[in-house]
Symmetry: C2
DNA sequence: TCCGCCGACTGAAACGGATCAGTAGACTGC
DNA sequence: GCAGTCTACTGATCCGTTTCAGTCGGCGGA
């Protein structure tokens, strides 16, 4: 806009210093300044130092827009959280994931562009398309793979670099992070079997999520291997849903009634616990409980909740690094996450009968 | 890179359609296309429609870099969460805030650039400076104002548009969101007074946060107005810290022992509850408890926790709108948040004595 | 009939940085 | 003493969009 007096080292209107300013001050060309600043050969030692010092002193920052325009990466990764906000709240999973993601991104010089929307896959894809079209992002992270997930085909069609949390995919066009839920299920069911349980119930999250399907299958197989009886119920990720199913199971008598319940999340398990207490059922004396997600909540309730603990910080970091590798041209393919660890607490014990 | 055959409407390598492509296809100038696409006068009705249709069909998106380069806003707001990740996890406050923030931003066409770092104000300011210098963001949101907060002066010096969550500031250079903690304190203390309590303790969060100072002052004044005795302890936002202070208070005998404790957060209160149970103290019979933050946790523990509830979704939305207004040139000054609502639950009752 | 004006459009410059094709000058080798 | 090479730099062009300064044709007014 207005011409600035050269005497003023720091322009008043915020840092609007460009390489042209530095070039003028030092009496050299813009190209030389660019070479010096990007660490490329083409300038002498002394000049490079002068440029670097001047840039530092004048408070120069590279304009991300200008750089992106010449073909550089955006240095930004996109993430859309498409679960209703009230669900996000409870699940510490997301915050952990976000923190891990961000830490890994920061270490490699990228940032996170975030959008929180309700449960609306269409809107999620449209957001990714727009961000990608506008050259805002280098790639995206697809959370919570669903059964016949429409996002996968769309992301592939638009050739947006992505990592899928949920996989594995049949083809290897897209790196995927996956957990061996069968293994986790075996640990959980094994723990209950060792305590003497023979009849158990599994109140899972919605089966539209592939990881919930895998967990259900895992629990059924682990139980079958041990000759246990298991009943699987599809719940929502909410307290009331879990409480309702818990009540229903506890209303039964005799051998139809499970002696242990496995819940899909910590909030579900905590709500189940409250429901059991209202029915006058002692935990773990009359019923054992196990949660598939560990969190602070599990340690703050009484009895404290036995839970399968996953390192979600590490999960996030792995997702970020897998995506950045892909952006740089290295497709890691199928990345397996470490198995969960069972945190045995007060909510599991030997059945009374 | 390689020249593309003009027969192919959608280029294979992702959407790389530019206004030049549209101009060539339609046999008009780039300028005309730009006028049509931005809704500015300068093209006729028929031409505008042809351009719009072509853009739609060819999958054109405006390059955010190119737009930003010509002086447009970045359409992005920056947020740095500078609390250790393990604290972020517990406090549902952040997730709620994020969701509210994002919803309001999306409605006005902006996105959120997020960074999660440990408790390091220097790093936070450096991140903001860099983002601003790189023209990545239009403004920032400063969370959790601290006593003598170094961020305020720095943000002001660099002329980065910002809204301060904590305020009010002495001068009005920066819009600020603030809560009348005195009012909230009065509601909480009034509730306990009405139940018959006369000796209470307040285990607050760290006093480096201005809102904690305001709350402590508020509790002391509200208690003094009613002739109650109050003791204020500075805790950390962690369970163990709250548990330790609770134990210490319960170790006392007779009139030195408070009959009610107000906690700085839901996790602190839940931990205090566990500590009380370990000491064999009945809640609310032997001790009443009240948490300054409401969350799912408060309803999942037994006894359920009486809490002050703030609408953090609305808080986030207000912060976002205040910032976007500022970016557009309207400084809202001091924005007051609605008072908290007391959610009376099982953890408060009349004292035994 | 001619002037002035308006609408519809064009050409070119600008934004900030990267990069390509040069070009002086110093140095090397013979 | 001169070609050849290397270093250290310069000038120009490009990226995709906005915007400024025109240009051109048509139309109304006097």
């Amino acid at each position: 806009m207005a011409t600035r007096t050269p005497e003023q080292p720091r322009p008043a209107g915020g840092s609007r210093v460009t390489i042209a300013d530095i070039a003028r001050d030092l009496g050299i060309s813009k190209a030389a300044v660019s070479y010096a600043l990007t660490g490329r050969p083409g300038v002498g030692h002394a000049t490079r130092k002068r440029v670097l010092d001047a840039a530092e002193e004048m408070g120069w920052y590279p304009s991300s827009s200008a750089r992106a325009l010449t073909g550089a990466d955006a240095g930004v990764v996109g993430l859309v959280l498409s679960r209703p906000p009230e669900l996000l709240t409870f699940e510490t999973f997301f915050v952990h994931l976000l923190a891990g993601l961000e830490k890994a991104l920061a270490e490699r010089g990228s940032s996170l562009l975030l959008r929180v929307i309700g449960d609306h896959p269409d809107e999620e894809i449209r957001t990714y398309r727009r961000w990608w079209g506008e050259r805002r992002i280098d790639g995206v992270i697809l959370l919570d793979e669903r059964y016949r997930d429409p996002r996968v085909a769309q992301i592939r069609e638009h050739r947006i670099p992505a990592v899928l949390c949920g996989g594995p995919l049949r083809d290897w066009t897209m790196p995927a992070l996956w957990t061996d839920h069968g293994l986790d299920a075996d640990v959980a069911v094994g723990h209950l079997h060792a305590l003497g349980h023979r009849r158990l119930a599994h109140i899972s999250g919605p089966t539209e999520f592939v990881h919930e399907r895998a967990r259900r299958r895992g629990v059924r197989r682990a139980a079958a291997r041990r000759g246990m009886h298991v009943e699987t119920v599809e719940g929502a990720y909410t307290g009331p849903s879990a409480a309702r199913f818990t009540m229903r199971l506890l209303d039964r008598d005799g051998p139809d009634r499970p002696t242990a319940i496995v819940y899909g999340s910590d909030v579900m398990a905590a709500s189940g616990l409250v429901a059991a207490r209202e029915r006058g059922v002692d935990v773990p004396g009359g019923l054992s409980m196990l949660s598939w997600d560990d969190s602070q909540l599990a340690t703050l309730i009484r009895p404290s909740m036995t839970a399968l603990r996953r390192d979600n910080l590490a999960y996030g970091a792995l997702a970020a690094n897998t995506l950045l590798d892909l952006v740089e041209g290295r497709n890691r393919g199928l990345v397996q996450l470490p198995a969960s660890r069972l945190m045995a607490r007060e909510s599991t014990g030997s059945p009374a009968g």
